[in-house]
């Protein structure tokens, strides 16, 4: 089944031509309408007319995460505000979040992309999709929601949390498709088992679409065995719109819609890697109006496969995300930078200079983040209540900045490891 067969089966040659045309239009467009890109092009000594085709793509400068933050809130927009119909935002490193704006057409293109993807992994009108990604400023919930509705499936917008109720509604309302993070799916299966419910036998669930954090083939197998469902991978980031691409039923790579996005893989120096080699995914949006991005460095490490897929779709695929190019951590689906944590700690007068971030995956599949921080000499106290109060204060501050909770352990001065040279403050004990 295809959502838009004409577009999804466009011959590869024609796809390239479409990309070339749209790329050329894009560079002219951003040069004239986005002060940010005009400046950036000028600094790189590039004129829009220099870009004659895909071969010139590598001449263009990259766009990186700090660019978005530095231009908060509207500096990256290439459209007047009256044309923007939606904002999404993700939590920021130092207080200010990353903002993404959408025109009416951007929402349509986003929905089209997700409709193609959902159809590719076999979601149909008859399905009931239970969406347990967060709704609101996070793009996961509304991204799935709009597409599910457009597809004509029945959407059950449960949002995240309240596992007991998720299971109850899944059973009673006969959900057939579940969308959440892979770790939450594992947790939910275990929880269901603990209250005597088998997802496989007691519900109509037949498949799940899992993403927002990296996972592995082993996890896929565990989920499929445990819950008796088909598990599919989904990819997308808020900067590119939100959830956008999924695996097709071949389960061999995630289709990137080439008439909307140009994908490249680059090495650490930013040079294109050889065919089939792994590197950082870089994406140029050729169909976005409000906030087009040129050579956006996603920070995600993967491999690009350009061969036509057995499913009949001609669009290239990326393989499962293998890790991050930067130090970003993904904890329960939420992006966390160690620098955010440091920023919060350093604002607390009682906190010392040394800290560690420890990540574990609990038995139930959920991530646990523990922050160990030394109390400074002046604030050092023998009273347990003081220490507990301090932990609680730090924990609250972290929660409000990171949007994910962390366990805080306040330790005595001088107990944590000291580093000569580059500090290694993150210990990630999780196995994907």
């Amino acid at each position: 089944m295809y959502w838009n067969p004409g577009a999804e089966k466009t011959p590869i040659k024609d796809l390239r031509e479409i990309q070339e045309r749209k790329l050329k239009a894009l560079v002219h467009n951003v040069y004239y309408y986005s002060p940010f890109y005009r400046k950036k092009f000028r600094e790189a000594g590039i004129n829009p007319w220099d870009i004659e085709g895909l071969k010139d793509l590598k001449k263009l400068p990259f766009t990186k995460k700090p660019d978005l933050r530095d231009n908060y809130p509207f500096g990256m927009f290439a459209m007047p505000l009256s044309q923007i119909v939606r904002f999404h935002a993700s939590s920021g490193t130092t207080g200010k979040p990353t903002v993404v704006g959408y025109t009416d057409n951007d929402i349509k293109v986003w929905v089209e992309s997700m409709c193609r993807s959902l159809t590719a992994c076999s979601v149909e009108r008859d399905d009931t999709i239970q969406i347990s990604y967060g709704y609101g400023l996070f793009t996961g919930g509304l991204g799935f929601h709009y597409a599910g509705e457009k597809l004509g499936a029945t959407v059950l917008p449960t949002s995240a949390g309240n596992t007991q109720r998720q299971i109850e509604l899944m059973r009673d309302l006969k959900s057939t498709v579940f969308a959440c993070t892979p770790s939450y799916m594992l947790y939910l299966s275990e929880y269901a088992a603990s209250i005597g419910i088998s997802i496989e036998n007691d519900t109509d669930l037949r498949m799940g679409i899992f993403g927002a954090e990296p996972w592995s083939e082993e996890t896929r197998k565990r989920i499929e065995d445990k819950a008796g469902i088909d598990a599919y991978d989904v990819y997308g980031t808020s900067e590119l719109s939100g959830p956008l691409f999924t695996e097709c039923t071949e389960k061999n790579g995630i289709h990137i819609w080439a008439d909307q996005f140009i994908a490249e893989i680059v090495d650490e120096e930013g040079e294109p890697v050889g065919e089939g080699e792994k590197g950082e995914l870089v994406v140029t949006t050729i169909a976005k109006e409000a906030m087009p991005l040129i050579r956006w460095k996603t920070g995600d490490i993967t491999v690009l496969e350009e061969e036509k897929c057995a499913c009949g779709r001609t669009h290239p695929r990326i393989m499962r995300i293998m890790g991050r190019a930067d130090d970003m951590l993904i904890v329960r689906g939420v992006n966390v930078f160690p620098s955010q944590i440091e920023h919060v700690l350093m604002q607390v007068p009682e906190a010392g200079d040394h800290y560690m971030i420890i990540l574990d995956r609990a038995q139930d599949g959920l991530d646990v983040m523990t922050i160990q921080v030394e109390v400074n000499e002046e604030a050092f106290s023998d009273k347990v209540s003081d220490i507990l109060e301090l932990s609680k204060k730090i924990s609250n501050n972290l929660k409000s900045v990171l949007n994910v909770s962390a366990r805080v352990e306040v330790v005595n001065p001088g107990t944590l490891q000291r580093f000569e040279g580059k500090a290694k403050r993150v210990i990630d004990n999780r196995k994907l």
Partner: protein, 437 residues
């Protein structure tokens, strides 16, 4: 696209006669649809010995049986649906406080109608495509979030789907995105005011122009307080998930009663016996949705108390109005035989300049006698001043309450920050009598 500068859809100013005709035509169709496609209603109508053909004039509506909340629970999950599952595109549920939740379903056309009704309402308050609309209620299964979200998006306003929580961040979004219109519960709006003041910001300088407030009953003096604090115009929003969600009725620029969309709902007010209340008399609002495909309901008892205000509104809309909700039929507290609504108490408290924005009503039973106590937070200055002033205000509130409610109520003045804050619906009544009965 809007119908005109002033109205979102042309149905809003349909001549009254045509509107009533359309309403009745749709009512007949709705009864037929329910009878033919929902076994629950077929059975219910047969038991009441009513056939859809018996509905020949408007008054005949009273022959139809009521539908109550328990019917939704008893037929959980799909027993009231009139269409096959393929035609459903959305499901919402309301959290059931006791047992199973209420489930409501929507077809594509139901969503279209709903979203347009919400757009009518928001457009009526003055929201246009250049506005930035910050939607500060819960998304997901609660209809308030997604309902308003889609309506504002349809108008073309910029929507900030900030949902609930993290008040400081909400405030920084208002500043950074240039938010001009907000949707929240009135109690959350007051919480925002407090937090803004703590951040050394002046709420009236945040740039807000329009506030849509709903999901809990509020009073005219609360409106005054909200409008003065934020320098905005506050509009009352009414809706319930059984009737789609928000957008059933809304205030217009007159801010005097809520227009209820008569082309989509058949409206009745009934007294405690279930008989039609007299013209302009207060009673329970009963609604029959007229355009719902997925889940037609006949004479649904909303539990909300109000009365109709039917006059020619200066805004030009021909749809009848209901008074702002006076309370819930099941919210009504009977204390020593007297009916008291929390909204009455709020109305009095909000008129006292020294009273803060939070209060709580506690009812206890001493022996056989009910005692009602109101705890209200006072502005800080009061606690630093003379004891005499303190006593004077206490007795003033007591007197005002006696006048309004007809009952002697004890008043406790407490310091700011003592009482619990609510981000969703506020729970202000603590009835402790149940424990002793």
């Amino acid at each position: 696209m809007p119908y005109s500068e002033k109205y979102w859809q042309k149905e809003e100013i349909m001549p009254k006669k045509d509107l009533m005709e359309l309403q009745f035509k749709r009512l007949k169709h709705t009864v037929k649809n329910a009878y033919e496609n929902v076994p629950f209603y077929r059975k219910k109508l047969k038991e009441a010995r009513i056939h859809p053909d018996d509905i020949k004039k408007r008054e005949d509506v009273s022959k139809l049986p009521f539908t109550v909340k328990e019917d939704l629970r008893d037929t959980y999950p799909f027993g009231l649906f009139a269409v096959p599952k393929e035609k459903l595109v959305r499901i919402h549920t309301s959290s059931g406080t006791s047992g199973k939740p209420k489930v409501v379903g929507y077809t594509k056309r139901d969503l279209d109608n709903w979203i347009n009704m919400v757009a009518r309402c928001l457009y009526m308050t003055g929201i246009r495509n250049h506005d930035v609309f910050q939607n500060m209620v819960s998304y997901a299964l609660f209809t308030g979030g997604l309902g308003m979200h889609y309506g504002a998006e349809l108008i073309g306003a910029m929507v900030v789907p900030s949902a609930t929580g993290n008040t400081e961040r909400q405030i920084s979004y208002i500043q950074d995105f240039g938010t001009t219109a907000i949707h929240a519960t009135p109690s959350y709006a007051l919480h925002i005011k407090e937090v803004a003041e703590k951040m050394d910001l002046r709420p009236d300088e945040l740039g807000l122009k329009i506030g849509c407030f709903g999901a809990e009953p509020w009073s005219d003096s609360m409106r005054k307080r909200l409008e003065e604090s934020f320098g905005l115009k506050a509009f009352d929003s009414y809706g319930l998930s059984e009737m789609n969600g928000p957008g059933v009725a809304f205030e217009c620029e007159e801010q005097n009663g809520l227009h209820i969309w008569a082309d989509h709902y058949f409206i009745e007010i009934i007294d405690e016996e279930g008989k039609p209340a007299g013209e302009g008399e207060r009673g329970e609002l009963v609604l029959t949705p007229l355009t719902k495909e997925a889940m037609p309901l006949l004479r649904y008892r909303t539990g909300d108390l109000t009365y109709t205000i039917d006059y020619k509104c200066s805004c030009g809309r021909t749809h009848p109005k209901i008074h702002r909700i006076l309370g819930r039929a099941d919210d009504m507290i009977v204390v020593r035989g007297i009916n008291v609504f929390p909204s009455q108490i709020e109305h009095i408290l909000m008129k006292i300049p020294d009273a803060g924005d939070s209060y709580q009503v506690v009812i206890t039973r001493e022996g056989t006698l009910d005692e009602m106590k109101v705890r209200v937070e006072m502005k800080d200055e009061l606690f630093r001043g003379e004891l005499e002033d303190f006593r004077r205000i206490q007795s003033k509130i007591q007197k005002e309450l006696l006048k309004e409610v007809g009952l002697r109520i004890n008043v406790d003045l407490v310091e700011k920050g003592t009482l619990e804050r609510f981000k969703l619906k506020a729970k202000r009544v603590l009835d402790m009598r149940k424990d002793t009965i």
